[in-house]
Structures are given as structure tokens and as C-alpha cells.
Symmetry: C2
């Protein structure tokens, strides 16, 4: 059976792509980074999907070619390395596109590079010399945490570097999961990735309030004032709490969803496909509700985490988790029971080994239903009759781990026709050493000797709407006060709702004072009840934008984080808010800031909307050693798309399993 | 057993209060509105609670007096009515306070008045004449919906009025719950409550776009273009959906909470009391976590719903749901299974009949646990070990119905020491008649002939903190950009976190551009890890403030809705953001705007913080006929209050009831 054009490559397809690439580069070593589906050009895919939705697909229907995007280094004589990207047509077994990526760009990291870095550090006299400045407690060992090098300073050469954050681990616990983050060491080895040599060991300051910017006040007894901060249950001094009774989600008749053809999900009038790639993790495609098109594609496009400690080299701490590391590459193998409750469908994914073979990432995405409280309710006070429904959601979830931090991403579909993109930040704060008894204006002391630096997390969600078709407009709606006046506002209670269509590609910001709402509309389809164009809308999240100085490298390379909403005209392959190549970037190239510079007309055409939001994270002690989730939700809701509340027909039956506690304390009884 | 000072009055206590009041007003009719616990003065209660928490209570410990607040009309000769408030000491059976409320104030509505109004409308020739202008379809009958009269115009006398919104109901369906709101009639009868006469029938305009402000363009066939919009399942044309399979929450070992002594709740280191009164509904008192005080009192203080249609008399549509109607008076009897899942504890409440007797409102508040997804997670990529916990919440919920609308309020406590106040808006839009084929800049046509007017819902939550004691300060924290400069920000990545203590009572607004955070701190207690004062914090919700012209009656009477955060010094009895008497108010008297005018010093003292937020609701067609919940959450989180993540010891055991769907479609298997 021919795979669906949106289905990920099979292991066989990946093998074909690998073989074609290897054959194209004789007498060299090919070091594979990624091989994954190159999604079909939209024009082709639209045609195919139109036939699919109209039921006119047949085995002989022409299909978009199966294309593999292959990203790899070609290592020639004297280890000279070039980064290449090829597209291979699987059926033809032929390379149909090929380019050597300009040296100013760097490929995203792969896990294999971390191992090299760790080994080179261990073997480096420079690094060992630096460590010799410290006396670690007996039984402690050094842990090397590889990190992207951050944005290149303007004075830097353009080598590919890797840096490491260094910690100590108490080996006397005989537990590999003893939390080493509570013992940070103020040394940062830097490796030249081409030569694999440790070229430098930076010595960050450990001073605190009152010191100069770069004072290095650490002593030999560098973690003498640090404490164990464990989170694995067997190392908790008091163990885990005993008074939490089970709360089970049981679905005796199974789930309400159906998954067919690998990736097609149908649930409560929704129909969409789930994709996965190493860059974005889970992606959502071809979203329809009750036979009507809503979105062409939805994904978390990028995120950046800039740190605000000005003491060099901490300005280099800025991760682009999707561009540098990959939301798919770093996705967790989700296991049952705790990552989700209820009946769960897992999707596996394929990742690429450096030899170009496919390796399975089991349970990379999970799909399940959950209850989100009351969906709608009305009580008629005359009759005493209450009608109340629960809100059921369908959740597509994946979780990524980037060294210390984790992010939980979920696409949630509900019965009222709304889609919520949720990001939960959790995991372990990125921390550095601080001298005993000091505090710092650059962060918060969350444990002895441990400074959690102030930072931001800014996400960008890419929404490719297809509201009843592909030609859409973006309409901004605002609610404006109107001064009291005899003609239009005699009693002062009136406010005016205005709207305007975005004509040219550009950006806009959240404006809660105006209740600014962004509508993605189809100007050719009117709601038969209200007469207004059918639309989906969202309120841009009024969260703080990137704080770094606009001329800083941190800001120049993360322009997507400087406005809340971006509107661009669709272009094939234009998927990444921060550009294709974020690793060591000095400036955002090929991201949304460049896309809007084209000045495209965006009204009544194939338009794309990008929503940036996030959190300024000045750490609390409560975020240590593992941070309770901080939750951000982007709600995308129908707005005059339907002719009534789509969840009106949700049954309001009582839930058979609920029970009542009759009175004080512990007696309870079945109803 | 002596009741706890925070326990609501018993029926016997209410009887005592009633008898004392009746005896105090011989030869008159006493028309009771409310009798409920007058919470003890804070000085007394603090003393009692201190003894209670230190385990030094004994049967002989002096307790705050049990006091009943009695609100009632005294109807003398010729039906002259005065509104009185008395406080009765239950033990002494003596009135200890009494006052006749100034005529410029009006008592809140009680349900009994609605019946009077409906009957007087039916009997009114004026009203019947107005209706005679219309031809209703055969089998339709008129429904009268009593409404508060809104703010008095400056030109109004100060009579107590009631107005009605009028609808037609299709009686041929033989279903009392057929939705009459889809047939609005443009007549608004107004009753003088003193004489119980219908004194006027307003005739609001029904015109649409292009018409003058007050054009009355309705015709005799007034609802000929209106359609049925039913929501009760038996009247849905297609019935309810059949493809939703059960999702049951099962707690085989019962709940993890304990409720003792009527109102004391203990759960996962939390300890607090649940109260209830006719004005605020559920209230939360004396909140402690793990032996440390967090809050003295938490409640939804007020809300206002101003409508923006400028056509008189629609400017009168402005409800104060707590002050006009009462969050407790209008609370639903919550029934099992749909209002909550899992194991539920209900609290009954007592309301007052007009003869002063107590009547039971069963199941006015519910308490249950729920799962809120992942609580925290970390995966060690070196070992592959993931530790993940679920976040369990304890929810105190009540739901109020005000004519067409409902609000679901929840106080949610979690294992990470956070408290969330949640408001969900649902129910039926308040709608008026609009001519066929017209649209309106004053709202949206959501069904034939039905205009849903633009409006706002603005809530105010009152937080009385007791962070490790009663003397607290309010500290505002902001994150400010810093221009790149050699001395303090050489690479431009630094941002400065500043904070300042609020010295004088006043207001401030949400400032997402500065990441403004409000901390309630104890300046005398430092966190031993970070050295910072222990605190709880919240980010004010950046929602649109009241839009009405500041000089309008709508705005003058709802000053609390014009700023996001208010800080006042505690005073006994100062509980209501919009003042004690909101019904027909022209200006906010005795609310927070007056409280801040005192200019009290609020640093390091008994301080109260008020948070206003809400939604500008320009209705969607999807909000009809019953609106999917719109959810607003105020998160109050610890900030250097604890020495680590309080949920660190939550067990991460797998959930026994979870199952996996193995592959496509419907096959599934137990793990």
C-alpha cells in the first residue's frame, strides 16, 4: 500500500535515501544528521487532499512524490567537513536537490556530538588543569553537560564550537541519578568541533552582590557550601508522601477516537493527521471539523531560552531548543500511567543514526482523551432543570528533554470546535556556582552555592490556517472606548468594536487594553446567521517579549521573540520562526523577520500566522530541584465559523462512577 | 458542642436572630432578606485561631461571640418601607447593632421580589397594551425575566425599581424548558417596587445597521424571523451524539481529603475552612500549608456585567451579580456526576425565607480532587531514568445562575503550594430583538431576530493574605530591559529585576511588558535559602478593564473594574469591591475606591489585595444557545515561601488503570 503523503518515511525509504546519498559522495565519509520526510509542496498536497476529502482517490490517482530530506556532513581528506542537504526521490532512487550549506550556517546538534565532547573534555589537559584548582569532597566525580555555544559574538571566528557546563556528582550514593545539578563548578570548557580539541576553558565568576561584574571569588573548596538536592524517590530524605490515594481514569468501552492509516485521527467530528519530524516533534496536519477545513498545518515552530546574567561567558547561554537540538530528536519515550491517564494510543517515531540507518523512538507521541471540567451549563430557575455537559478533550502530546529542562507540548481539541496549543515548562533549572553567603541580582539562590539565573522562555507556534479553504485573511478585532456624546454614546456605556484586515506581511503585538483579537477568516464565506466571515480566532498572549537589547546578539538571532504575532504569506519550506539554522547564529536568517520583509500582500491568500509567547522566569526557590509545571495555553477558537455551539449535542448523562462522601471524614457511600 | 467561630449559623441560631428582630419591631411587618453569620472581628478571630493552631484551645477558652447579621425591610403603615440591618448576639439573644439604611441605598434583590414583579406585569394593562402591538405565533406565550434596574440615571428619582426582559415561549412543545431566549420581545416593563405598580413600559429599538440610534423598526410579526434554539436534549433536532464513550474517574480507596468539624478541610498538607454566605457564596478561611499560615480569607468579592448597546434603556443593563443578586443566593444545588467527577463531598447551605426562617440549599458547594496533568518531570538523558508526577488538585466549587447566565467558581489547591481562583462563564447570552436581515454594531446576530449585545464580565477577587502571620507587605516585581553598556551589560543580554514595596493604599495595573508580578510578603521572615522575604505572588491578569466612559454611571458605580490590582489596609466588614449596596447605585460607595482614598499606610501591616480581571465578550454565534465555558484563572503561587518544590515528595507511581491502544483503530490490550 502506498503511504499517505503525510506519513513519515519508513525504514525502507530511509535506507533508499541513505544509499542514494552515500553513492553520491564516493571516497568520503558521510556523517548523517537527519533523514526525514520532506513534506510535499503545498500545491501538490492540496490537490491530493482535495481528492481525498471528496472521496475521489483511487489507486491510480497521481500522488505527490515521496521525498526524503537528508542532512549530513561530508568528511573529506584531512577531516575537512562540509554540511550538505539533499532531497532524494524515493521512487526514482535519485537525488533531486542538493546543496552545500554555506559555511556561515551550522547544522543542528546530534547526540553523537555530545559523546565526542565529553570524551575530549576528559582527555583534555587544559580542562583537567582547570579542575585541579578545586578540591571536590571525597567520592565526588565530575559530570560534563554539553551545551550549544550560543550566539557567536561579532568578534568570533565562525568555527563550530561546543561548550560544557560542569557539575560534580556524589558517587558515594551509588545512584547514577543523584542530582549533580546541585554541585555546579565554575569552569566552561569549549571545544572546536572541527579539530575536536578543547581550545579554552572559561572561568565564570562566582561572586555575588557587591562584587564587580567579573569578580572571580571562588575558592578551592568550591562546593563546600552546596547541598544534596535529590528528586529521585529513593534519595528523598523523607521518602514520598503516603496520603495520596489513587485517582484512576477508566474508560470501560475504550477510547472515543479512531486512528487509522497510521496517522489519521478521528474524534468527535474532528479529523486530522499526526506527523512527526526531528525538528518540530509532533505536527498536526489537514485539520477538519464536521466536513469543513480548519487548518492546513499546526506546529510549535521554535523556542528560545536566553539567559540574563551579563557576566561573560554567560551571555552565550541561549538555547534554541528546536533549531539547535530538535523537538523531535529530544522527544521522550513516553511511558504509560504517569505521562497520561486513561486509554492511550502511542505513536512511534524514527530517528537517524550517524550511519544513516533508522532507529526507532518508541512512544514518541501519545494520544488520549481527558476531562476538562464543565463544558457548558444552564439552569432554568423557573423549572429547576439544569442541563450540564462535561468538556472532553483529545490530546496529542510530546515531551522534550534538553539537558536539564523539559517541555511538555500538547495539541488539544475540544468538542466546542476549539484547539489549544499548550506548553508546560518543567525539569531542572539551569544553574551556576555562587559563593557562600552571597546573593545576586542576576538570579536567585535556590540551594547552597547554586545560583539559578534569570531567563526567558519564548515559544513560537506556527498556524497555517485553511478556514473553509486556503485563501484566508487575517482580521484584527479591537474593542475601543468611546467618549460619552449625545449622538452615539449618550450614556457612556457604548464601546466600539473595530476590525481591520492585515494587508501586508508584518507583525503586531498583544494589546489587552484594546482586547485585541486575531481572526483568521475566509472572506468568501459568510456565517449564515451573523452575516460575518467565518473565522477562527485567538487572543495573542500578553506575555513579556524578549528583553535583551535589540542590538545584542541574543536579540538579533531571535527576532521572532520580539513581537507576539507575525503574518506571512505561505511559502513552501518556510517553517521555522528563527530560520533554518539557529546554532551559533548571530542574526535570524530565513526566519519570520525575513519573511515579512518581502512585503507580500497577505489578504485573501494563502496566509500563515505565527504566535510568540512565553515566560520571564526569575526563579523561585520552589522551582528547585525540579520545577512544578508553568503552563501557557494558546486558545484557537471558532468565531462565527459554526451556526451554533458545536458541543450542544454532547450528552449530559450522569457519570456512573461518581460517588458522594456523605458527611464528615471518611464514611462514603455509592449513590 | 460550641460551633467554630467560622461555622455558618445553625437553623436554631437563625431562629433566635429572627425572634430578636421581630420583637424589636412591634406593630410592623418584618420582611426578611438575609440572616447569616456576621464573621467575628479579625482581632478576636486571630486570637482564637492562634490558640487553635497552637493546640491550646479548651472548652473554657473564650470564643468570639456568635453574631447574626440580619437584613430586612420594616413595612409600616401605608406600606412605608425602611431597610434595616441589625446584628444579633445569639447567646445574649440581644440586638447589639442596629441601623436604618440610608434611603439612597437599596437592599439586594431576593427571589420573592421576582414573583411579585411577574405577577404585577401580568396584571398590568400598560404591559398588556404594549404586548398587543405584536402578533405572536399560535401557541406562544410570554415569559417575564426580572432584572435589576441597573444604575440610576442622574435624572432619576431614587425609587426602587425592577425591570423585565420579555421573551416568548413556544408552548406547543409541551416542554417548560423550551428555550424562550430565542424569541426576545422589545418591551421592558418597569415596576416601582414600593407601590408594586408597572409605571412604564420601555420600547427598545430593534433596528440594525444604518438606522439611527433609537429607530424603532419592529413590526407586528415581531418574532416571525426567529427560530427555535433549544438546548435540552429531548428538543435537539438530531438528539445527542452517540460516539462519546464513558470516561470515569474512580477513587477505589476514597478521597485523599478529610472534612471534619463541618467546615475544616485537610488535604496534602493544606488545611483551611470553607464558609458560605448569601453574598459571596463559598468563602475560604484560615489557609495553612504544612503548619504555616498563608491566607486569612479568600473570596470572589464582586463582579459586574455592563452592556455596551447605547440605545436607551439598554444602558441600564449592568448586573452586579454578587451585590445585586448574591453569589450565595443564586448558587445551584449541585448534583452528582456532571458537575464533578470522582468522589465528591457536598456542603449544604442555609438561605433565608422572607419570614426569617432558614431554608436548606442542599449541595451548594462541592469538594473533590482532580488530576491536572503532569506536575513535574525530569528525564536524565544519561541514564534514561524519568521521574514524573501527576498534579493533583483539590477543588472547592460553586455555581451561580443569574437568569440567563451561569458562572462556575472554583478555588483550587495544588500539591506545589499554589492556589488558583477560577471563573468559568457559561449559560445563555442575554439577548434582544433585532429586525429581520439586519446586523448591528452593538452586538452579533446569533440566531434569527436575536441580537447578543457586546458586554464585559469583570470579576474581583479579594485576597486577605497572612503570609507567616498577619503583618504583610505588597511588593511589586518588574523585569526591565537594560540598554547595552560596557559597565553593566556588555553583551546586551542582561535585564534588571526591580521591586518596590507599596507604601500607601492604591491601585496598579497589569503590565505584561514589564512582567509585573504582585508579591504578598512577610518582611520579617526571610527564606533561609535565598535570603528573600517569604512570599506568595500572582501575575495580574492582563485583561481589558471597564470600557464605559469614566463619567458614565456604569463606570462610576464599578470603579473596582477600572484597575487590575487594589491594595488596602484591612478593616472589619470591608469585603465588597463595589460597596455594600450595588443595586441601583450611581456611584461606588464604600467599595475599594473609597477604601484607598483613606491613604492608609499598607507596608508591614494587615493588608488586603484585590485582583480585578475579566472578559470583553463580543459574542460569537458559537456562544448560542448555551455558551461553551470561557475560563479565567488567577494563580497565586508561593515565591520563596518554601525551601524547595513542595510537591517533590509526590509519588510517581504508575497509574494502575491506564491502558494502551496497541495499534490502528479499536484493538486494545491491558498492559
Amino acid at each position: 500500500m502506498t503511504p499517505h503523503p503525510l506519513s513519515g518515511l519508513s525504514p525502507d525509504e530511509i535506507n533508499v535515501a541513505r544509499d542514494v546519498v552515500v553513492a553520491s559522495h564516493p571516497d568520503t565519509i558521510v556523517y548523517f544528521r537527519e533523514i526525514y520526510l520532506s513534506e510535499p509542496p503545498k500545491a501538490q498536497l492540496r490537490e491530493f487532499l482535495a481528492l481525498e476529502h471528496s472521496g475521489r482517490l483511487s489507486p491510480t490517482t497521481p500522488r505527490p512524490y515521496r521525498l526524503a530530506l537528508c542532512q549530513y556532513d561530508v568528511i573529506g581528506r584531512e577531516k575537512s567537513t562540509e554540511y550538505h542537504e539533499s532531497v532524494v526521490d524515493i521512487r526514482l532512487r535519485r537525488r533531486v536537490k542538493h546543496r552545500i550549506v554555506d559555511k556561515k550556517f551550522h547544522a543542528a546538534l546530534v547526540v553523537d556530538e555530545f559523546d565526542v565532547f565529553v570524551n575530549r573534555c576528559k582527555a583534555s589537559p587544559l580542562f583537567q588543569q582547570a579542575l585541579a584548582d578545586f578540591d571536590l569532597p571525597k567520592g565526588f566525580d565530575v559530570v560534563i553537560e554539553p551545551w550549544p555555544y550560543g550566539g557567536l559574538d561579532l568578534s568570533d571566528d565562525n568555527c563550530r564550537y561546543m561548550q560544557g557546563l560542569i557539575f560534580a556528582q556524589d558517587k558515594t550514593k551509588n545512584n547514577e541519578d543523584a542530582n549533580f545539578y546541585s554541585y555546579p563548578l565554575p569552569v566552561i570548557p569549549v571545544m572546536d568541533c572541527a579539530t575536536e580539541e578543547i581550545v579554552r576553558v572559561d572561568r565564570p565568576a562566582t561572586g555575588g552582590k557587591g562584587d564587580g561584574l567579573c569578580d572571580q571569588t571562588f575558592s578551592r573548596d568550591i562546593i563546600g557550601h552546596a547541598n544534596a538536592s535529590d528528586y529521585v524517590p529513593e534519595l528523598l530524605p523523607g521518602g514520598t508522601r503516603k496520603d495520596l490515594k489513587p485517582l484512576n481514569v477508566v474508560q470501560p468501552d475504550g477510547p472515543s477516537f479512531r486512528v487509522t492509516n497510521e496517522s489519521l485521527v478521528e474524534w468527535q467530528k474532528w479529523r486530522f493527521r499526526v506527523g512527526f519530524n526531528p525538528r518540530e516533534g509532533a505536527t498536526i496536519h489537514d485539520v477538519w471539523y464536521d466536513g469543513r477545513s480548519v487548518l492546513y498545518r499546526l506546529a510549535v515552530s521554535e523556542m528560545t531560552v536566553p539567559y540574563a546574567d551579563p557576566r561573560p561567558p554567560y551571555h552565550r547561554k541561549q538555547a534554541f531548543d528546536f533549531g539547535d537540538g530538535g523537538g523531535g530528536n529530544t522527544a521522550n519515550n513516553l511511558s504509560i500511567g504517569c505521562d497520561c491517564l486513561g486509554v492511550i494510543k502511542y505513536f512511534d517515531a524514527l530517528l537517524t543514526e550517524t550511519d544513516g540507518s533508522a532507529t526507532k523512538l518508541p512512544n514518541a507521541i501519545c494520544l488520549h482523551e481527558q476531562d476538562n471540567g464543565i463544558g457548558w451549563k444552564h439552569s432554568n430557575w423557573r423549572t429547576g432543570r439544569a442541563v450540564v455537559t462535561r468538556s472532553r478533550e483529545l490530546v496529542v502530546q510530546f515531551i522534550i528533554t534538553l539537558a536539564n529542562y523539559e517541555y511538555i507540548f500538547a495539541y488539544k481539541f475540544d468538542q466546542s470546535g476549539a484547539i489549544t496549543v499548550e506548553a508546560r515548562a518543567t525539569g531542572i533549572l539551569n544553574v551556576v556556582n555562587i559563593d557562600s553567603c552571597k546573593t545576586s541580582e542576576f538570579g536567585n539562590v535556590v540551594s547552597g552555592g547554586v545560583l539559578a539565573q534569570n531567563h526567558q522562555h519564548i515559544f513560537c507556534v506556527r498556524i497555517d490556517p485553511a478556514i473553509d479553504g486556503h485563501d484566508n485573511s487575517v482580521v484584527v478585532e479591537e474593542s475601543h472606548p468611546v467618549p460619552m456624546n449625545e449622538a452615539t454614546n449618550p450614556n457612556g456605556n457604548f464601546y466600539r468594536v473595530i476590525d481591520y484586515t492585515v494587508d501586508r506581511a508584518g507583525w503586531l503585538d498583544a494589546a489587552p487594553d484594546l482586547n485585541r483579537v486575531v481572526k483568521m477568516t475566509n472572506p468568501h464565506q459568510s456565517n449564515p446567521v451573523s452575516g460575518k466571515p467565518v473565522a477562527y480566532k485567538f487572543t495573542p498572549l500578553a506575555t513579556q517579549k524578549l528583553l535583551a537589547d535589540p542590538n545584542s546578539v541574543q536579540a538579533r538571532r531571535a527576532q521572532f521573540a520580539q513581537h507576539h504575532v507575525w503574518v506571512t504569506k505561505y511559502r513552501d519550506g518556510e517553517l521555522y520562526a528563527g530560520g533554518n539554522y539557529t546554532l551559533q547564529s548571530q542574526v535570524e536568517i530565513g526566519g519570520i523577520s525575513d519573511a515579512v520583509k518581502r512585503g507580500d500582500r497577505v489578504a485573501d491568500t494563502d496566509v500563515v500566522v505565527w504566535s510568540s509567547f512565553g515566560l520571564t522566569h526569575n526563579p523561585r526557590v520552589e522551582d528547585w530541584p525540579v520545577m512544578p509545571v508553568d503552563i501557557y495555553q494558546l486558545n484557537i477558537r471558532p468565531s462565527d465559523f459554526f451556526t451554533a455551539n458545536p458541543s450542544l449535542d454532547v450528552p449530559s448523562s450522569r457519570n456512573a462512577s461518581s460517588r458522594v462522601v456523605q458527611s464528615d471524614c471518611c464514611r462514603d457511600a455509592h449513590i
